[in-house]
């Protein structure tokens, strides 16, 4: 975890689910507050510092989407939405709502933990005033990586399919162009050390990304291997 013990607010109307999420996160070194609807959420946020909000879409009274939009308008606190599958994911992640990530119910709790870690690390690295901080999209050599919609488009404008882990790794590269990044630091920046075994090794992810973006994956020019060092992202990256 990027933060020692992040303060997480779980907004979920089902009492048992809320309690279970809270209990699961507490056993994984998070400090958790809970709320069952929008009013309780605002009260909880007034009471204490909140590092991240887990927000259910289906809430009594004001629904999660509208709460998300309001939160986004007044603060930078990261938001992970819990949705029923089939909700318009583009809307949840898009500029309109501005959630940082989402999970479809029923979700794998370890996946939730991994996403929390990833979102907090992203937040931290953005606050560290990286050149790309705040940009919602970046371009390199005609490629466009959209951080909000979490999609990569090639120079022809075609969407390239990526897993969440591949996307996070490419994003990490894009935010640190021209720097040698060791496998360990890449692991820290993307998955966190306590990520589950379902995550692939950095080398596998890099080879899969290369296959998608390099014109000749055998002679990589975009993500170069640095002998005994790790990897370096060579293109010039610009905020878009």
């Amino acid at each position: 975890m990027a933060t020692a013990s992040p303060n997480i607010l779980v907004v979920e109307d089902d009492r048992e689910t809320r309690a279970l999420i809270a209990r699961y996160l507490r056993t994984n070194a998070c400090s958790v507050a809970t709320a069952s609807d929008g009013n309780e959420m605002y009260r909880a946020m007034a009471d204490r510092r909140v590092d991240l909000v887990i927000l259910d879409v289906m809430l009594p009274g004001e629904d999660g989407l509208s709460l998300c939009r309001k939160l986004r308008a007044e603060s930078e606190v990261p938001i992970i939405m819990l949705t029923a599958r089939g909700e318009d994911v583009d809307r949840i992640l898009g500029l309109e709502m501005g959630a940082d990530d989402y999970l479809a119910k029923p979700f794998n709790p370890r996946e939730l933990l991994a996403r929390i870690g990833a979102v907090l690390r992203r937040q931290a690295s953005a606050l560290n005033a990286s050149a790309m901080g705040g940009a919602s999209a970046m371009t390199f050599q005609g490629w466009r990586i959209d951080l909000r919609l979490r999609e990569l488009r090639n120079p022809e404008g075609a969407r390239v399919a990526m897993t969440s882990a591949e996307f996070d790794l490419l994003r990490t590269f894009c935010e640190r162009p021209g720097r040698v990044l060791s496998r360990d630091s890449l692991l820290d920046l993307t998955q966190g050390r306590n990520a589950g075994s379902f995550e692939r090794s950095i080398d596998v992810l890099v080879s899969r990304i290369r296959r998608k973006i390099e014109s000749d994956p055998g002679q990589a020019t975009i993500i170069k291997t640095v002998r005994s060092g790790g990897y370096m992202f060579t293109p010039v990256v610009e905020p878009a």
């Binding site: 089902d14 048992e16 689910t17 279970l20 999420i21 209990r23 699961y24 056993t27 029923a84 599958r85 089939g86 318009d88 583009d90 119910k105 029923p106 979700f107 794998n108 709790p109 370890r110 090639n154 022809e156 404008g157 075609a158 969407r159 390239v160 399919a161 990526m162 897993t163 379902f198 692939r200 899969r208 296959r211 998608k212 994956p217």
Partner: protein, 442 residues
């Protein structure tokens, strides 16, 4: 409101046909009468025309004149109508030649009446005719070439008949079209009737009978759509509500200490989750919202292969490294994932192939399992049909929605899904996406 008897009811088919016949007969009569009046008033005898008329007038003048006046009169006529070339013949000229019997001569004779005789002067010039006046004087004249007999089909009666035939045919065609167009549109509407509520209701127009059929069909459509909507809502509600307990169970399972129990529970929960997802995506298929966008289909296929490899299956990708296609990315991902799920369930190994041509993009998912018999290939595409009906619900069985979801998604892309045999055994599921949805990588 007064109810007309069948034939008089203009809103019915029979009434409309009767009205049509009456109107067309009236129209025909009107037109024929008009033409008759325009055509026949002051019309000369068609058999005697042009120069013949002048000729007869001249002959009658000469016949009525006193013999002494004739030379002067003839000179006057010759001056007035030089083209007739009228001249007196000597009294002893040979008039015995058989009277010619052409229709012109017949017409002349008929017109001039008794007392006049027509003959063909011996050795006369072509086109000349001889006339013996009532007092025996003979003269000859040149007949201008008159119009020949009207051809058989040129007669006014024939024109009328032709006109009648053509207009009746056109009217008949129009009437048949007007009456049957609503019926054809019924047939089309029934063929394309889909339960997603997007097709427009049948137009309620045309004759009364057809309108009532349209109304009945529309009501039936409404009831069917209502039933389907109820079913959809019920399934969606059940699936939705099941999410909450499954989410709770999924969280609870994290606190189970016995690793074996935990693993089994997670497996069952994963199965429930994938069945829920299958039902929901099946229900959602009719109401797709996902946008069509340009995607690199090759990376989608590589991604799917990678995901199955990560789960411990042997899945390979064989195809170009990049290929651009217009598609709905998440749907297509779901469609192909379903095929690969089947492939690894029934076979040890699966290969995803991609062939791109200017006309089509062909995606094949190939396995080395037992395959599907030809007899069952079609039913396999139906919802809720499983590969092996006797199979008990083991860890890998789903609802049997995978292939029907895939087919619905492929259909929505305007493509086709087919199941083919692989040699020596196994199955090849082939998706063909049409040219419109495909763009060759640069």
């Amino acid at each position: 409101m007064m109810k007309f008897p069948g034939l008089l009811n203009l809103r019915g088919v029979s009434g409309q046909i009767a009205a049509l016949v009456v109107v067309s007969i009236l129209a025909l009569h009107l037109i024929v009468t008009t033409i008759f009046w325009l055509h026949r008033r002051d019309a000369p005898d068609p058999r005697v025309d042009y120069g013949h008329g002048q000729f007869m007038t001249a002959v009658e003048l000469l016949g009525a004149a006193a013999p002494a006046d004739r030379p002067r009169l003839m000179a006057d006529i010759a001056r007035t109508f030089p083209q007739l070339d009228i001249r007196a013949l000597p009294a002893d000229a040979d008039a015995t030649a058989a009277e010619p019997d052409t229709h012109i001569f017949y017409g002349l004779r008929h017109h001039l009446g008794r007392g006049y005789r027509i003959f063909s002067p011996a050795g006369g010039r072509t086109g000349s005719v001889g006339v013996i006046l009532p007092d025996g004087a003979k003269l000859s004249a040149r007949l201008l070439p008159g119009r020949g007999p009207r051809p058989f089909w040129g007669g006014p009666w024939m024109a009328t008949l032709l006109f009648a035939a053509i207009s009746l045919t056109l009217l008949g065609l129009w009437a048949a079209r007007a009456l049957t167009a609503p019926l054809s549109s019924f047939a089309r509407a029934a063929e394309t009737f889909s339960l997603n509520g997007t097709s427009a209701p049948l137009p309620e127009r045309g004759p009364e009978e057809i309108r009532s059929v349209a109304r009945a069909l529309n009501r039936m459509r409404g009831r069917i759509t209502g039933l389907i909507d109820d079913r959809t809502r019920m399934l969606a509600a059940i699936s939705h509500d099941l999410r909450t307990p499954i989410t709770r169970l999924r969280l609870r399972s994290e606190f189970i200490e016995d690793e074996t129990h935990r693993r089994h529970m997670l497996r069952d929960l994963d199965q429930m989750r994938s069945m829920l997802e299958a039902v929901l995506s099946f229900l959602r298929n009719d109401r797709r919202l996902e946008q069509v966008t340009l995607i690199d289909i090759a990376t989608t296929l590589q991604l799917i292969a990678d995901q199955f490899i990560d789960m411990g299956h042997k899945v390979g990708y064989d195809g170009p490294p990049h290929a651009m296609v217009l598609a709905r990315p998440d749907d297509l991902h779901r469609a192909i994932t379903n095929l690969v799920e089947n492939a690894v369930r029934f076979g040890a190994e699966a290969i995803i192939r991609l062939r791109v041509s200017p006309q089509t993009a062909i995606i094949e998912v190939e396995d080395d399992g037992p395959g599907i018999s030809d007899a069952r290939k079609d039913t396999m595409l139906e919802p809720f049909v499983r590969g092996d009906d006797a199979r008990t619900m083991d860890e890998s069985a789903g609802f049997g929605l995978g292939l029907s979801i895939t087919r619905a998604i492929v259909d929505a892309h305007g493509g086709t899904l087919s199941l083919n045999d692989r040699q020596p055994h196994g199955l090849i599921a082939r998706i063909e996406l049409p040219a419109g949805a495909q763009r060759q990588a640069a």
